[in-house]
Amino acid sequence: MEDQIVRMICRVIVPFIQIYGMFIIIFGHLSPGGGFAGGAIAGASMVLFALSFNLQAGSKKISEESASLLESGGALVFVLAGVVALVLGANYLTNLEAGFPAGTPGRLFSAGVIPVITLGLGLKVTSSIVTLFYHLIGGEEEEH
């Protein structure tokens, strides 16, 4: 269905949704929310986009391949952040004791490795939602 009103509103609203999602991911260690919540919001923006236009337009923005790349990449960030602590000589996933910079408490750059992990999680959840959505829609198209 091609609806001019829906498309127009979607065009306007999608950037705001994405910025809100990014905000929740990046400020995950300071405010309520974090990787999961923010990733779900940012992923939902892509779902909204693909629904109001169509799948081809959506997959032009993020192709299925790059979504699965991002998905693996997000998970890799989490595991590697843990391994860095191992290399630095502490236990797996150790934060400040392993030597990650603490920063000023309450500011954006603080809490050592946690923002990195939240960012990885956010990437992972965003691309997971997009991939899941593509697979559900794609599966239906193949059958018909």
Binding site: E65, S68, L69, E71, S72, G73, A75, L76, V79, L80, G82, V83, A85, L86, A90, N91, Y92, L93, T94, N95, E97, A98
Partner: protein
Amino acid sequence: MPAIEHYPIIMVAGLLLLAFIMPLLYIWKRNWCEPVAIFAISVALVMSLCIIYEVVQGDAFEEGYWMGGWEHFGIEFKADYLSSYMLAVIHGVGLLILIYGIGDLKKELVEKVRGWYYTLYLLLMGAMSGMALTNDLFNLFVFMEIVAISACAIISIKEDRECLEASFKYLILSAMGTGCYLLSVAMIYMITGYMNLDMVGETMALGVGEYPLNILVAMSLMVVSFGVKSALFPLHVWLPDAHASAPSPSSAVLSGLVIKIYAVALVHILFRAFPMEILKEVPMTDIILWMSTLGIIFGSIFAMVQENFKKMLAYSSIAQIGYVFMGIGLFDPERPEETEALVGGLLHILNHAVMKSMLFMIAGIIIYSAGLKKIRDFDGIGNRLKWPMYIFIIGSASMVGIPITGGFMSKLHLAQGAIAVDMPFFVMVIIASSLLNAIYYMPIFINAFLSESKHENVTFKPVPGSMMIPVVILGGLVLLFGIYPAPVIGVLESAVESLIQ
């Protein structure tokens, strides 16, 4: 080289890491997937052998390993005798199944999903190692979920009607099992306020008198949950379809390893979290004993009437997991020093993992080479597929429990344990089930070698060496563990001793 106390986490994190890299590799360097997966599991096998050596000889694992250095708050990994034994079983058998799978999957799976298969396989291996190692109830739940999802996925990856139906059934029932587990953990947390197994054990011993009902409900939910997951008899309904319709390497890993890891987790929790007084009050071990007895008998009877070879092997798995649980059931809390049956049950984890994955691989070889699935079509194939059927003789002898094979050693220990706790009835159960096993395993190879061949016009594809060698190695291992099981039994005796304290 990192210090040895980091090995458990490196193993789990490394397997998960490579599982995530696998899709990337599949996009860029398609041919690298298989060698990288084999390399990963080989390294994990070497690490688990190092861990088992260190557990037996050294003292690096006396203390647990706390994630992120959060001592007494965080997640703890603890390599004790039982978990290091299980790690070696998982990675040893898992490596051989993977090597076998490379040949087999080329035929069974379409090109598009083959890269994902290795992702799922490494995820499964990493999560199973995590389940064996973790000392935290909630972390165990997370790993259980990963195992359940990836186990479903390696069934449904074949994408035919049967597989999808079977994996959906498996998904629903195993989700029920996980739900029961979560409820049970919630109960335990309510009583004790801890998630760490050791601390739960200590606190629960204090709370026995005050909260008997909660502990009782938690324990029964725990047994039901792991019973569903590892197909203890009345809860086994998902297993035959799932294991029979999956691709052969998946069947081998599911039947050989996945159902055992839940039994190991149950042993860990039952003996370490719940105080011995509760086990004395509540006939939980008796219930497990009778369920396993029914499973042993009925699993064999169901297996007898099957026409499909893989389905017969799947029903036989229900009977064989019964032996593992019989070992747990024959443990008498009144006489905790009689541990031989428990040793036998745990020994059967290794023996069954080796022989059942071998038999599923042989089933896969027969399907690969000649496309035969029905048992009655196997007449006379012994002349065409000589080596697979020779190894099949070893496997079925071990299933029946003939001396010098691994199956005999575990049944011997179970029977001695049954006599030690004055329950000679269960010796009869073991003997009866051996006879039942003989009834459905023996005719297959007798007919395969002695019957008239019906396959003059069937072309037998040559079996590649990469599929044959793992089967031969596993056949050798069955004989090795039948002739010289002493080191394994030594490890298991220490394992049981440290559990019972």
